[in-house]
Amino acid sequence: MIQADFQLQRGNFSLDVALRLPSSGVTALFGRSGSGKTTLLRCMAGLEYQPGGRMVFQGEVWQNSKGFRPVHQRPLGYVFQEASLFPHLRVINNLLYGYQRIPATQQQLQPDQVIELLGISELLQRYPDQLSGGQRQRVAIGRALLTSPQLLLMDEPMASLDATSKAEILPFLERLRDELDIPIVYVSHAIEEVTRLADHLVLLDHGQVVAQGDLQQLLTDPNLPFSQSETASSVLQARVVNADVGDGLSELQLEHQSMLISRCGLQKGQATRVRILARDVVLALTPPDDISLLNCLETQVLDIQPDAGLNPNPSQVLVRLQLGQQTLLARISKRSAERMALKENQGVYALIKGVAVA
């Protein structure tokens, strides 16, 4: 468990949080610019000294009223928004900078392993100014990993990258999450990144925690901005049952139901998650068999919410659907909901227009 309690006041901005975060998986600190995400992360790392703060990592006190352990004595890795490589060192020496500063007995991760994981073996002899933005950020991630951290803190590692570099980095972050057993606290204001990477979500606004909990729950909570936004979506856990069923498709199993997606290099038996936008879900009372949509899931109506949020659209409603243990969101027109006489606990078929593997 990670305990992080911080209060601070800076001009108009104040931060007041008391967090208990799980010590496994990826926790996303999510919020708009200026919501205090980065400041909170810096306090957790000890880059910012805040008297009265309290930081306890798996029983080890890093900061309390009696003491403050300086950053260089904490077993953490930190990835900044800009790669901030040492300009006077070649890539290989950037990578080894931290590795050489931890005792040999704590060197859990080896350079070869990390270089392979991040695909940077071609770059080792270059200087940072000879790298692209995406390459630089991968080196920065590798450099942090090579201290074999017990906690990895990442401050919007993709925010300063263009779309191409982002697409290049994301798969590495997913491998990181899946292959290394390190808790990661990930700051972001991009919901797409969060839905792909995070297990646990903390929503911050004006320095306060608005909500925190399991990613799937928070995304489908009708009272939170996620489900109220134009890009409202649900994230569902699934498993690959057949990687190749012909026609370029893979078959997933989702709460004992079958779902077909375009093949994307997933292996049989592999757990994965899919992201479905609420506006890409169509509801039907009987299973139609004469339309082009591939996926049709049997669900039950949990509840029907009027469109809310900053710019509510009175013609729309948000239908929350129960799918086994998971929740699926559908955004349909109010008129359709009335015509179909949708009500709670009613069985409906959810037709999925688009699925993204997240």
């Binding site: 880059l47 900078y97 201290t147």
Partner: protein, 226 residues
């Protein structure tokens, strides 16, 4: 062509420039570091004090130093009383004087270098387990090479050209405190233009070569500038 006395004067000039530059770098590094990173209000005061030698006539500083370091001055008198002897008209006095004279030329380049070499990369180094001292030697120093180079050259060259302050604090004792610039003045006063010419030419050529060397080095060092 060059008299022994002139050679001695050149040697003293060189020694003075080297010693005072070396000591200045050593003493000013911590001061420049503090100035580059402090948020203290006294920063303005210290910065103004450091810049004073830029605006004061060298004779004014030389005069006060003479008063302070001389046998009846606070510092000189104390040194006299413990048997070391006062510092007026001595090489040590010259070093102190020229250090004071070149202070801003060392502090300012170092302060700029430290300001850019600090910040983010230092935080990165801290998250990579480097202690403060470790960070200074492995990150700050390599990234401020240019600042150190600039500071050394400015201080060295500035000391070569020093005149008024040295005349005040060092007197003009051949073989002990007579430096090249004063020797040239003496030659001109004695109407010995030939000797003044050869000594001046040596200073011109050596300064030029020195600066050439620096600009050449600077090109190479650009690789590591931030």
């Amino acid at each position: 062509m060059i008299s022994d006395a002139d050679l001695t004067a050149l040697w003293i000039t060189l020694k003075l420039a080297l010693v005072s530059t070396f000591l200045l770098l050593l003493l000013c590094a911590p001061l420049a570091w503090w100035l580059a990173h402090t948020r203290s209000r006294s920063k303005v005061l210290v910065e103004a004090l450091v810049a004073m030698p830029l605006v004061l006539p060298p004779t004014v500083m030389g005069f006060y130093l003479l008063v302070l370091l001389g046998p009846r001055g606070a510092v000189g008198g104390f040194l006299e009383s413990i048997g070391i002897g006062h510092l007026a008209f001595s090489f040590s006095g010259l070093v102190i004087g020229s250090m004071l004279f070149s202070l801003p030329f060392v502090v300012q380049p170092l302060q700029n270098a430290f300001a850019t070499a600090g910040g983010r990369v230092l935080e990165v180094a801290a998250t990579l387990r480097a202690s403060p001292l470790d960070r200074f030697f492995t990150v700050v120093l390599p990234l401020s090479q240019r600042g150190f180079l600039t500071a050394s050259v400015l201080s060295f060259a500035h000391t070569l050209g020093e005149f008024g302050m040295i005349l005040m604090i060092g007197g003009n004792i051949p073989g002990r405190t007579q430096v090249a610039s004063i020797a040239i003045y003496d030659h001109v006063e004695a109407m010995d233009y030939a000797a003044a010419h050869s000594l001046s030419l040596i200073l011109v050529v050596s300064s030029f070569v020195l600066l050439m060397l620096v600009f050449a080095l600077n090109r190479r060092f650009k690789v590591v500038s931030l």
